[in-house]
Amino acid sequence: MNATDLLALLPLLLIAATSVMVMLAIAIRRSHALAAGLTVLGLCAASVSLFAAAVWAPRDVTPLLRIDLNALFYTGLILAGSIVVVFLCYGYFDSQENNHPEELYVLLAIAALGSATLVSASHFASFFLGLEILSVSLYGLIAYERELKASVEAGLKYLVLAAASASFLLFGMALAYFELGTMDFRNIPAAAAAPGVAPGLTAVGATLIIVGVGFKLALVPFHMWTPDVYEGAPAPVTAFVATVSKGAMFALLLRYFSQSGVRDSGPVLLVFSIIAVASMFAGNLLALFQNNVKRILAYSSIAHLGYLIVAFEAGGGMAGSAVAFYLVAYFGTMLGAFGVVTVLSTPGNDLGDLASYRGLFWRRPVIASVFTVMLLSLAGIPVTAGFIGKFYVIAAGASVLLWVPVFTLVITSAIGLFYYLRIIVALYSHVEVPVPSFLLGRQASPSLTWTLGALTTVVIAIGCYPSPVLHLIKAMIAGTG
C-alpha cells in the first residue's frame, strides 16, 4: 500500500475519521449541534475528496477494494443521502431534551462507511465486511429510542432477520469459493469456465447470495421485516434504511452479478424475473391495505426495488445507467417523503396514521405541497425525477424485450397510483381533524425546512432537465468500462 492507494481510499478514510472524531467530541462535550455539525463537516470533506480519488481511479487498493468511477459515484450518492439524513435527524431529535442524540451520528457515520465499503467491494471478504459494518450500526440506529417498545422491537426484528440472511450469504459465498477457488468477483468467470466445475453448485451459491442480498433490499419473498421496521424506527432512520442501505446493496448487486457473469446464466435471470414481478405485485397490492403512511412507503419501496430489478436485468451499460439514474431519483424522492414525515413527527410520536394527514394542505400548505411532489415522483408523474427514472427503467426493459417484467411494471404502477392518490386526497380533503397534541405550536426547524426545500428543488430540477445527471452517469459508465 502506498501513498496513491491512500489517496484513492481517501473518501473511506475520511468517513471513518468522522465517526472517530464525533465520538471523541462527544466524550469531551455533549452538544447535539456540535456532533451533527462535525458529522456534516466530515461527510462533506469525504464528498470533496471523491474528486481527488477520481484522479487515481480506477485503482485496486488491496485485492479487496476497487476504487473506480462506479464506486465513487455511488459513494457520492451515499454521502449525499447520509448528509440529508443527518439534517433530518438534527431537526427531529433537537426538540427533545435529555435524549442524548449525539451517539446517533457516530452510528450514522459508521453505517455510511459500511455502505461505501459495499459499493467499492470487489471481493467476497470486503462484501461481507461492508455488509456487517452497515448492519451492525443499523441495529443500533433502528433501536435508538431505547425507551420505546416499537423502536426496540423493530431493532430486534431487524437483528434476527439480518443475522439469518447474513448466514445464508456466507454459506452461498462458501459454496461459490468451494467450487471456484476464488473470492475475487473478476476471477469468477474464468474459474467458472474451467473444466471440471460443477455449474449446479455455483448456481446454488449464487442463489443463496441472492437470498442474502434480497433481504437487505427487501425484495419479495424476503420483505417481511420491512413494514414493521419502517414503522418502528425513528422517521429519519427509516429514511436511511430505505435509501442509503438499499442503494449501496443494489450497487454491489449490480457489480457482483455483472462482473462475475452470473447474471447472464438463464436460471439466475429467471429467478430475478420472478423476484421482480413478485416484488412489484406484492409491494403495490399490499400497500393498498395500509392505513399508516410509513407502512405505505415501506411497501412502496418494495415495489420500487422491483422496478430497479427490471432495469438490472437489462444488462450492459443500459442497466448500469438506468439503475444509477433511478437510484438518484429514488434517493431524492424517498428522503423527501420521509423528510415530510420527520417534520410532522417528534421522537416517540411518529405521525403515521393516514387519518392525521387529512387536510394538511389547508394547515401547512408548503409541507403538503412538498409531500405531493414526492408522492407524484414516486408515482412517476412528469416534471418530477421519478418520471424520468421510470421512463429510463421501462426503456431499459424494452430495449432487451423483457415484456413480462415491463408490463408488470406498467400494470402495478397503475395500481400503485391508487395509494399515492389516497394520501394526496387525504392531504387536500376539507375535513377538520384535531391536530396531534405534540405538533401544537411547533414550527419546523430550519434544518428540516431547508433540507426539504433542497430535495424538492432537486427532484423537480432532475425531472425537468435530467441532462446533467445523465451526463455524469454516462461518464461514470464509460470510465468504469
Binding site: 407524484l376 408523474i381 412528469p382 416534471v383 418520471f387 421512463f391 421501462i394 426503456a395 424494452a398 430495449s399 415491463v406 408490463f407 406498467v410 400494470i411 404502477s413 397503475a414 397510483l417 391508487f418 392518490l421 386526497v425 387536500y428 376539507h430 432537465y465 435530467p466 441532462s467 445523465l470 451526463h471 454516462k474
Partner: protein, 495 residues
Amino acid sequence: MILAWLIIVLLVAGVLAAVAARLSSVLTRWISLAATVLDFALTVFLWVRHAGQITLTGSNPWLEQIDWIWIPEFGIHFHLALDGLSLLLLALTFFLGVVSILASWTEITESVGFFHLNVLWILAGITGVFLAVDLFLFYFAWELMLVPMYFLIALWGHERRIYAAIKFFLFTQLSGLLMLVAILALYFLHHQNTGTYTFEYGELLNTPLSSTAALWIMLGFFVAFAVKLPLFPFHTWLPDAHTEAPTAGSVILAGLLLKTGAYGMIRFAVPLFPGAAREFAPVAMVLGAIGIIYGAVMAFGQTDMKRLVAYTSVSHLGFVVLGVFSWNELALQGAVMTMLCHGISTGGLFILTGAIQERIHTRELGRMSGLWATAPRLSGAGLYFALASLGLPALGDFIGEFLVLLGTYRTHPVLAIVGSIGVLTATFYALLLVQRAFHGPNTHAWAIPDLLPREGVVIALMAGSLLWLGLNPQPVLRTFSPVLHALETVVQMHR
C-alpha cells in the same frame, strides 16, 4: 419562439394567480383571464400571419416551430411545431380557457388561487399536446394534463368527486403507460432499423416495421387515445368525471381533453402505422358506431342534466372515430370539424348546467321544468345549444357530422347508416333535455335570476362562433385541410 411563449405565459400566470390570491381573489381571476386572452390573441395573430401560406410544401410541413435540444442522451428534443390543425385546436383551447375562467367567476369561492393554477396548467399541458412533435415531449405533456385535472375534480367537484377523480386518473394513467411502452418500442425498433435514437415525429413516420410489431405498437397508442376520446367500451370514467367536475373542469374535459385523444389518433396512431391502422379500422369504426348509438341511448335515460350532457359526448366522439378511421379527406374534415364544434356546443351546455345548478342547487331534470318562464335568456340559450348538439343545419356540428357520414358512406355504407340513426337519436335526447328543463309549467315555482351580463357574453360568444362555423366553415376548413391532405398522402405512400 412564439410557440414556447404560449406555454410559458400559462405556466407563469398560473403561479402568479396562485400568489395573487393572497391579496385578492378578483386579481387572481383577472390574471388568469388576461393570460388566456393573451394566448388566444397570439393564436389569432399566428392564424392571420399565416393565412396566405396555409398550403403546405413537402419539405417543411410546419408553419412555425422551435426545436431545442432537451435530453441529448436519449435523442429527445423540445420540439414544438404548428400546422393548420394544431392552430385551430389551440384557438379552441384558449377560447374555452377564457370561457371556463369566466364561467367559474362566481362558482368557485374556495382556494381560488390554487383553482386557477390548476386550470392554467391544464391548458398549458393541452397546448403542449397539440404542439409536441417529439414523442417524448408529447407523452410528457400528455401526463402533465392529468395531475391538475385530478385536483380540479377532486377538490372543487360535486358529491362523488373523489371517486370520479381517482377513476379518471387511473384510467388515463394506465392507458398512458401503455402508450409509453409503445413509444419506447417504436424508439428501439427505429434504432434497430436505422441506427439512430430519436423520438422525432418526422423521422419515426418512416420507420419500417413488421406488420405484427406495427399492430401491437399501434394498439398501445390506440388504447391511450381511445380512453381519452373516449371510445366505447373505454368510456366508463367519462360520465363520472364530467358530472362531478366543477363547470370549468367539465368544459375543459369535454371541450379539450377528449380532443387530445382524437388529435392523437389523427396525428400519431394512423400516420405512424398506416398498415396496421387500416387492418384495425373495421374494429375501431364498429366501436365508434356502437359508441354513437350507446351514448345517445344512455343520454336519453339520464335524469341528471350534467350526466346527460356527458353521455352525448360519447355519442359525438363516436363520429370522430368513424371519420378518422375512414381516412378519406371528407371524413377527416368532418372529424376535425366535429371536434371543434362539439367542444363549443357541449361546453355551452355545461356552462348552462353550471349556471342552473348555481341558481337552484340541483342538476336533477325532475326538479326543473318550466325554467323558461323565469329565465328566458338562459332557457333560450339552452335550446340553442341543444339544437346545435342534435345537428341542426346552420350550426357547426351539422357540418362536421354531415361530412363524416358523407365520407364514411364511401367506404363503409352500413356504418354510415348506423351513424345516421345516431343523428336521429340525438334529436330525442336534445329535445328531451329542453322539454324537461325549460318547457312546461313552472311546477316548482322557481324564481331565479336570468343570465348575468358576464354569462351572457360568454354564451353569446360561443353561440356566435357555432353559427359562424355553421354558415361559413370555409376559412376553418381551408386552414386544416392541407394538413389532413398531407397526412393522407403520407399514409397512402406507405400502404
